[in-house]
Symmetry: C2
């Protein structure tokens, strides 16, 4: 008596998943119960890295989610539609769902999980964040006995690859991006990665699990890495930092979270500073645990197939173990958040800042900067005149912990100073 | 209707666990179902960091495991006896068990899990390895869809603290150990830590979960860090390595594992090379996943309490969810290994070696070393005459991957050379 899978999509991850499931020797014995019953694709005739019986393949994805024989739908087509609609239909048909789709979960999670709970089925999403790193399940289960303070992640491999190469080679964003596209580490349209949307989807999901409430994806502050220059990477290095695109969810008061994605100066001794290339890492801080970090491949066929299959394994165990049809939802596998977390606007964030100014080489410029920052309550940790670019002096400022709103106001005024040519960079510091 | 806990032991971890459970706001809501029903201690009158009603405390531990009201026994007394006997009695009385006791599980796991399966109860052990790092559950569940090749861990905080300080300060083992004892990072009797037995207990447990079979703890090869000198740390540094006490479980053929603990030269770019101080990390490599690493506090009241409580949480969910008394054991929470893994003798290990020789300063010594190694099939990666100690020349050799037995035989012969004064160090290289 097998557990019948309907797999939607046979791209990289779908192929990796089928390969894993077809070759089960040496893996958890429960996987032997899996039957790859239907696989939905766009084009049947396309050559694939796996061999499947003809009758398994179909282009009719809707027929799969409506097939009463199917126990579990594995959604690997990505994107918002038709993924959302197929997932909802599968749930309404009483099927459990495994998905790797961070975009659909972060945007339509409320609708999806509400429908799942009404239909007493599970929607599993280990593969949606961190590729092969088991982080969703620990957040839902082991770590949830803690009061979580912060989840900080390097959750987008493409941008981490680009920043790592900019760091080690001293290259510009544009040249590394072009090379990454050539090598297949970045998409032809790199927007979702380099502008931070992918990381924002993922931190929405992690925040929801860590803080036990729904997250309105629209409220997540999101800045990408296009504005990170090799000049800033060099200055950061001299000051003892590396620049990483961090996705951060942080409890900033009893009722407010800060959820955000932005390039960040990370102290070199910080555990996330050494995560390089396409690797991902997620650091969770809580009470009484302290810090734990999960590190691993954030993407790729094998890693993602591992995460997808681990969700399938959990469902098989549940289906085997669950004797009665009316058994309650396992509270550690389900997702029953009712309320939305309140997310503070970014202006209320308290953090350190790094700012770089190009100024006319006049006496007293540093004094004027310091005075203006002071008037807005922004206290400075260091001010360094670092050199010259063309005719202009370059001044780098690192603040103490200050309110983002205050920094922005001070900068607005500073921008009007006659001596200020431009403010090419404003970055947050961990 | 609470779930009644009987906690055995109220030392550091017991106190941390009671503190966590008594203060459940902001944690997983299921923890509210916990009732701390009995706590067994040696001395009732000892001052404690927690307040408990008088009737909860008792010195009669056996009465707790025999009390029909108790649902879950939390064993935190450590050591072999009476821990083993109390755990077995609790199981026979139909109680689930949570334990942080790596010694008793690694030595008596077979007896304990067999009894647990007969009595349809769970024995949970997240806290036994890696303190607050969730690693037991991922190995049992998510990661088990992979074919695991290797589990490599820094799983003993005391020795990692000592080696880190030797590395950064250039101090000797003895002086750092004495300081660590003064600071409470090492026990008055440091044997179990510095001689590797604690790490060997832990890798036995990890190996059993990763490779799905029982491990005979006696077969685990175990070397500690007493013989690691500051001279070797300095040479390793120059060669691009740091020295770490690694616990390794590795599949070396279709039917054999290598399970061992020894100080190891780790390349500085390796993820484990940067794990410093009392932190632990466990690196798991498998197919198709690749590498994932778990990092966090390996000990301490809060971290360990987090792991203990996560096991309690899992049991509460199971007890809530399980409707029928005759429900089968959840295959992802239970432990049903039947067979022992075959462990290869250390002489069959294939790895790289680092050896340091003190020789009389005669011409041709390096040639003689190289020739003798060659005769035993040991090929060398590098041979460096590094300097002089007193009247003796110091020669450091790093081999390619070779059989341990061959190296040992070659060294036996080399030891007889007239020019060889001594071979102060032989270390494995990752």
């Amino acid at each position: 008596m097998g557990i019948k899978l309907g797999i939607l999509g046979l791209g990289t991850v779908g192929t990796g998943t089928v390969q894993l499931l077809q070759d089960h020797v040496g893996r958890h014995p429960l996987l032997q119960l899996v039957e790859i019953y239907r696989v939905g694709v766009k084009s049947i005739d396309k050559p694939r890295g796996v061999t499947l019986p003809k009758e398994v393949m179909t282009t009719d994805l809707e027929a799969i989610v409506n097939d009463p024989e199917v126990d579990i739908i594995v959604e690997l087509i990505g994107g918002l539609e038709p993924a959302r609609e197929l997932i909802l239909k599968a749930i309404q048909n009483g099927k459990h769902v495994v998905t790797a789709n961070k975009a659909v979960i972060s945007r339509f999670g409320t609708e999806i999980f509400t429908t799942a709970n009404q239909n007493r089925v599970y929607v599993m999403l280990e593969a949606s964040v961190g590729g092969g790193i088991p982080v969703i399940q620990p957040l839902k289960q082991s770590l949830s006995v803690n009061r979580i303070h912060t989840v900080t992640g390097i959750v987008n491999g493409t941008t981490n690859y680009i920043l790592t190469r900019m760091q080690t080679e001293g290259s510009s964003f544009e040249s590394v991006l072009a090379d990454a596209q050539r090598l297949g580490y970045a998409e032809a349209d790199p927007t979702a990665d380099v502008d931070g949307a992918d990381a924002a989807d993922k931190i929405s999901i992690l925040a929801s699990l860590a803080f036990g409430g729904r997250i309105n994806r629209e409220e997540v502050n999101c800045e990408g890495i296009r504005q990170v220059s090799k000049t800033d990477i060099t200055y950061a290095d001299k000051l003892g930092f590396v620049i990483k695109l961090l996705a951060i969810a942080e409890k900033i008061s009893s009722s407010f979270l800060s959820v955000r994605v932005h390039p960040t100066l990370v102290p070199k001794a910080h555990p996330l500073a050494n995560i390089n290339g396409v690797y991902n890492a997620i650091l969770v801080e809580g009470d009484p645990l302290g810090q734990v970090m999960f590190f691993g491949p954030g993407a790729g066929a094998g890693a993602t197939a591992s995460a997808v299959s681990s969700d399938i394994l959990n469902l098989i165990a549940r289906l085997q173990y669950q004797q009665a049809d009316d058994a309650p939802i396992d509270p550690l596998l389900g997702c029953s958040h009712q309320d939305y977390c309140q997310i503070a606007p970014i202006s209320q964030l308290t953090t350190r800042f790094y700012a770089r100014f190009l100024t006319k080489d006049q006496p007293g410029v540093i004094g004027k900067l310091g005075t203006c920052f002071g008037e807005y309550g922004v206290s400075l940790e260091s001010v360094v005149q670092t050199g010259f670019q063309d005719e202009l002096a370059e001044i780098v400022v690192v603040t103490h912990d200050v309110k983002e709103g205050d920094v922005k106001q001070a900068l607005e005024e500073i921008r009007t100073f006659e001596a200020i040519d431009s403010i090419p960079s404003l970055l947050r510091v961990l």
